[in-house]
């Protein structure tokens, strides 16, 4: 559906370099990356709203690089809703029909369906100014989908919303995606959104795509140190590999497979590291004695830093476990993790 080949963009301080991306028809594709990675710029380039230096963008097989935005059939939804403040909610939703030849009956049906799915009926005659963020974003979704675009671009549509509205809009997005033929491409830095909505994803960093794949895959098997750090792999160490063992800073770690590269990185998610006071007799093949070097209150859980020889591991632990184990600064503990919890690349 969307096929991007060798896209380069230079815009003041921003550069996108050699972007290659394929998104299938009706896929819900996620674009992740830190602020300044160039995600919004990529979206605007697809929509024809940012100047492209070189490369091609195909939608349904047609090269659209030369087309103005109004001829591309691509909808866009921004984080800040971008509703037209001088028009009523209904006029906002119907705005696109001024420029599309649509069958009246079909348009009526579509409107009714969008109003129903997004629960907008009671708002139709209001102005957008005093509505809640959730309401505004639902309106902006209805406005974009009213013209039945081939592709809908979503630029962090949920990140400005309060938690209670976030779940609403997320659910609405899921319903809309399931009931339409439109291909969704969403920028987010929220992993909950990515995991609950998306199928495949790309991680961007500094204007480059670092990794493309199924979201679970990206979380489980980050392809680079950056992606590992970005998806929350706090325990990331450069290591030497031999057969199914990794060594670094005097520690030897057992792996679930044998890396083919002689040296690279290993990464372990904090939640995969178990903390105990004595060595556990379990299937966990990696156990190391250490000392608690720091306890950080994270609200629902505690983040624990454990120093073993030269290496510092980060783990998370609930408050009750913390009390139960009597863990405090400089207490002796054991960190354990399964061989399969160790990611290498």
């Amino acid at each position: 559906m969307i096929s991007i080949k060798g896209l380069n963009i230079e815009l003041r301080d921003f550069h996108l370099r050699d972007i290659n991306l394929d998104v299938a028809q009706n896929e819900f594709f996620i674009l992740m990356g830190p602020t300044g990675a160039g995600k919004t710029l990529l979206l605007e380039a697809i929509a024809g709203l940012a100047p492209v230096k070189s490369g091609k963008i195909f939608i349904g097989g047609n090269d659209i690089i030369g087309l103005p935005p109004e001829k591309r059939g691509i909808g866009i939804v921004y984080q800040d809703y971008a509703l037209f403040p001088h028009l009523s909610v209904k006029e906002n939703i119907l705005y696109g029909l001024n420029f599309h030849k649509a069958d009246k009956k079909e348009a009526q049906q579509r409107l009714a369906q969008l109003i129903e799915t997004l629960d907008l009926f009671h708002l139709l005659h209001r102005r957008p100014a005093n509505l809640s963020g959730g309401e505004k974003q639902r309106i902006s979704l209805a406005r974009a989908l009213m013209v039945d675009p081939a592709v809908l671009l979503l630029d962090e549509p949920l990140s400005a919303l309060d938690p209670q509205f976030k779940a609403d809009v997320r659910a609405a997005l899921k319903r809309l995606h399931e009931t339409s033929r439109t291909t969704f491409l969403m920028v987010t830095h929220d992993f909950t959104d990515a995991l609950s909505l998306g199928g495949r994803a790309a991680v961007m960093h500094n204007g480059l795509i670092e990794q493309v794949g199924a979201i679970e895959e990206i979380f489980k098997r980050p392809a680079s140190a950056f992606v590992a750090g970005f998806v929350g792999m706090k325990n990331l160490f450069p290591a030497e590999f031999s057969k199914n063992k990794a060594t670094f800073s005097g520690l030897e770690i057992e792996l679930a497979g044998a890396p083919t590269n002689g040296h690279g990185y290993i990464a372990i998610r904090p939640e995969d590291i178990v903390i105990s006071r004595q060595i556990l007799s379990s299937s966990m093949r990696n156990s190391f004695r250490g000392v608690v070097a720091g306890i950080l209150d994270q609200g629902f859980y505690y983040e624990l830093r454990v120093q073993t020889q030269e290496v510092s591991f980060t783990s998370i632990i609930t408050k009750s476990s913390l009390i139960e184990l009597g863990i405090q600064e400089s207490a002796d503990v054991v960190v354990s993790f399964k061989a399969s919890a160790v990611h290498f690349f």
Binding site: E70, A82, F84
Partner: protein, 267 residues
Amino acid sequence: MMLTRRTITRGPFFWLSVSSGIVIMAFILLPLIQLFVAPSVEMLRVSIQDKDVAHSIWLSIYTAALAALISFFFGTPLAYLLARHDFKGKRIVEGIIDLPIAIPHPVVGIAILGVAGKNHVFGQLLAELGIRVMGSVTGIVTVLTFVALPFYLDAAKAGFEAVSPRLEKVSRSLGASMFSTFFRITFPLAWRSMLVGLIMSSARAIGEFGAVVIVAYHPMIAPVLIYERFEAYGLKYSQPVAVWLVLISLILFFLLRILTLRKTVEQ
């Protein structure tokens, strides 16, 4: 001066601020009040019935309005360009636009005559086309546009800048061309600023004396007539004309205040 906050400690600094405020109010209002009370109603009536006075005020109004309209037609696209696009030399262009504000008024008149006179190719071209700048309404409108343009451009530019570019982007993505987007989205959201710009530029134009008097002593706009009456007959005879001119400027000023106030209330 409204002093609604009771928690303010009224020290010497506070009283210094208040007294300087009173001095400024008096400085602005006293001469204006004196101007209005000096001529009797009878004198005002006689003065507006004087053909020269009525003519000059009418000339002032419509040349100022023309200057504002010319600023509107030529200035709007440039104001939009400056509000939306970054390019090399943008600061220089913005500086050039504000130049007329900084140049002494008689110099404006002299500069324009330099280009429009017989000694310049451009002036010769105008003469061949039968367009006269010196001593003509064309000349008056030319210098008034020169001094009024920055006021319209700055107001319109600020108006366009206040409209988020994302609204235009969304409009384009929904199928609207740039022209449709401008007339359906940008203009409805920026028209108030454009109108404020029109009023500011015409208010600026209606008060111009120095530049006009160089280019066209005749036909006589109101400020030139006031000056002539003062020179020839003295203060008493210039005051009624001045009152009429000030009244018209005040009407413009109040329109401006009403429009800008309503804008802040809406936001």
